[in-house]
């Protein structure tokens, strides 16, 4: 797809995602029922969990495209990886800031060094390192290769984050949707959660495509600059 087409698709998905986000907020305030024990604070769930899912998706995509870049050495794959990693950082930051706000109400503390929170913070720092490694080498190609390895290592943390609440004693709640016996959420909460997951995913892909179009234009600028030298 040409850059203009990617931009149009990205813009359309972003607008759809922003409209969906307004709908999710509306449903969260006016439609979904209030959870019995945690009260209104449980509504943070409809932002926190979709942000977590989207960050895992983005970091997973970054790792996949990084792995393929190491194999095929196609610059488009590296561009996709950096765009996905940037999106992953945004959504992981949402997850890591909304979680403590909920934790303060539910657990009485903003932060505790329990396994899931610690693995998640580790993943955030690994991907912060991804951007530092990219720009730390004199040879950009070497930086891209090193960063690709960091992205793969960072994504290996995702299964540990998911399973840490099963493997270890943890303050963090167990999964309520992705479990062998099926979701245990009430119907309206599950509906809103799935709506929010869809909206966050659409928003991520919209912004990812716009960011990818930006990287495409940047590489064109670099090529034309090299041609004039």
């Amino acid at each position: 797809m040409a850059t203009a087409g990617i931009r149009r698709a990205g813009l359309a998905l972003t607008i759809l995602g922003l409209a969906g986000l307004v709908l999710v907020y509306w449903l969260s305030f006016f439609w979904v029922s209030t959870e019995m024990t945690q009260g209104v604070a449980q509504r943070i769930f409809y932002v926190h969990v979709p942000a977590a899912w989207t960050s895992f998706l983005a970091f997973g995509l970054a790792a996949l495209t990084s792995g393929m870049y190491l194999w095929l050495r196609d610059d488009r794959l590296d561009r996709a990886a950096v765009c996905a990693a940037e999106g992953g950082m945004v959504f992981a930051t949402i997850m890591l800031t909304t979680g403590p706000l909920w934790g303060k109400i539910a657990w009485g503390t903003f932060w505790t060094w329990e396994p899931r929170l610690t693995f998640t913070l580790l993943m955030w720092f690994i991907f912060l390192g991804y951007f530092m490694v990219r720009s730390s080498t004199e040879d950009p190609e070497k930086g891209k290769r090193f960063a690709a390895v960091v992205a793969i290592v960072g994504a290996l943390d995702i299964p540990f984050i998911h399973l840490s609440v099963v493997w270890f004693r943890s303050l963090h709640p167990q999964p309520v949707v992705l479990k062998p016996e099926g979701p245990t959420l009430p119907g309206d909460m599950l509906t809103l959660l799935l709506t929010s997951l869809t909206v966050f995913t659409v928003l991520f892909f919209g912004l990812f495509l716009l960011r990818y179009a930006l990287e495409g234009l940047r590489s064109r600028v670099e090529l034309s600059a090299r041609a004039t030298v």
Binding site: Y25, I94, T98, R211
Partner: protein
């Protein structure tokens, strides 16, 4: 990319306004009453509003930064 920037400048404030209006209306209308336990031990509203605001602000900041960088690159390409 002037069209994208224009669209972002129009849509983002509209989205923020809609969210702010929803938050204000929610405070006015009140929600389903929490249980007695929740009422006694929880101070939840401002945490929820801050969490929702952080989410939309970070997404808006990313969108805005992409739009700005796109405009800058387009300008360089045009030179």
């Amino acid at each position: 990319m002037p069209r994208l920037r224009r669209a972002m400048r129009t849509l983002l404030p509209m989205a923020l306004l809609a969210v702010a209006a929803a938050s204000a209306a929610a405070q006015d209308m009140g929600l389903d009453p929490p249980t007695e336990l929740a009422r006694q031990s929880l101070r939840p509203y401002w945490h929820v509003f801050i969490a929702y605001t952080i989410a939309i602000l970070l997404v808006a900041a990313w969108a805005g930064s992409i739009a700005k960088r796109l405009a800058d690159v387009e300008k360089r390409l045009g030179e």
